[in-house]
Symmetry: none
DNA sequence: TGGCAGCGTTCGTCAAACCGAATTTAAGGA
DNA sequence: TCCTTAAATTCGGTTTGACGAACGCTGCCA
């Protein structure tokens, strides 16, 4: 609210890129997403190409199908280059050692971070092409085993491990054990 | 069902009431607002009555004329404490269903988010006084059991559960089982 | 090489959102 | 009470978004 209300970029372009990005992330094809959202794929095609001016109901259906809130599609993202590697950071404990915390990543002001939970099963590899330059992905493995990171140098994670890497190069997620779950923080300026 | 981020009530009704409320607050007549937004007052009338299905451009123009961000018109007010139980959030899966993700929280542009891992043991209570107004804490429990939240209304979490609450009131963390770990995202503007 | 299947774009058709004008409703003021 | 002014709601006409079908494209397999 205290922000700039008159977002410079036309909302339609923002919607176009947001739509493409989220569909990408969800690993859905245009056809599949259109079917799930209950809209014609031609409509979706035009929206992603920046042509058109969707109604609220149409956009809403897409948000539901993608599992993201409405505003996520209209508010513009922003990239910024920042990669933080952690995992070897010792957890600082309080006196009775019943509570400890370690800072994994300190966010830049102006950055935008979205919080996801992931569920993956072995047998498939989730590939992701480079998205917006400057985006960073943070992953904390909470169950199972996971191979994640850039295509050329993926990292194998045990439960509790943390990895972050730039999202602007092709990268992958591959579960190595059943019931693999992780927390994903996707950061884009 | 307080899923304010993923599947709120019908957007059209939210928009209708939001429009009326904001126009009220701004002290504008329907005619005046329509003129400023550059739309027909008949259109606005129908929108406020809940009839109709505005296009993005139309809604955008109204947001600008009212001096409020787009999202304020479509997102219903968020509760102070939000709990999402494991499995409660619809995880959007791709075809092979080896990969799925659900958005727990969408970050505001301009907000700052720090990423922590927590480890807690039973027997101690971690109290935290109010911090900076406007800060929000997000917690995903990854192991054990945890009691967390505002002092007067803490929430008991199972593994996989998610809770977010305002950090500007006194709150607490208390492990209910050995080996309790959690991911904490602290957000402040 | 040909055929098949899935993905994405382009093209007419139709319903609906948007608009401008007329109509109704509300509130004073003499 | 009647008249005047302004706000808000309906009422046809036009523009445009959404749909379905058809089309090109690509990768795969026999």
């Amino acid at each position: 609210m205290s922000e700039t209300e008159n977002t410079p970029a036309a909302p339609l372009e923002t919607i176009a890129s947001s739509l493409r990005r989220e569909r990408d992330r969800a690993g859905l094809t245009l056809t599949e997403l259109a079917k799930r959202a209950g809209i014609a794929k031609s409509t979706l095609s035009q929206l992603e190409s920046g042509t058109g001016n969707p109604s609220v109901e149409t956009l809403w259906a897409l948000g539901v199908a993608l599992g993201v809130p409405f505003s996520r599609l209209v508010d513009p993202p922003t990239p910024q280059v920042r990669v933080v590697r952690a995992g070897q950071v010792p957890i600082v404990r309080s006196e009775q050692s019943t509570y400890g915390a370690a800072l994994l990543s300190s966010g830049e002001s102006g950055a935008r971070r979205d919080l996801y939970v992931l569920e993956l099963e072995p047998g498939g590899v989730r590939h992701a092409d480079a998205h917006i330059p400057g985006s960073v992905e943070h992953v904390i493995l909470t169950a199972g085993r996971l191979l994640a990171g850039p295509e050329d140098s993926p990292v194998e994670l045990e439960v509790g491990d943390y990895v972050s890497f730039s999202g602007d190069v092709p990268h992958r997620y591959e579960a190595l054990a059943p019931g693999t779950t992780a927390v994903l923080v996707m950061e884009h300026r």
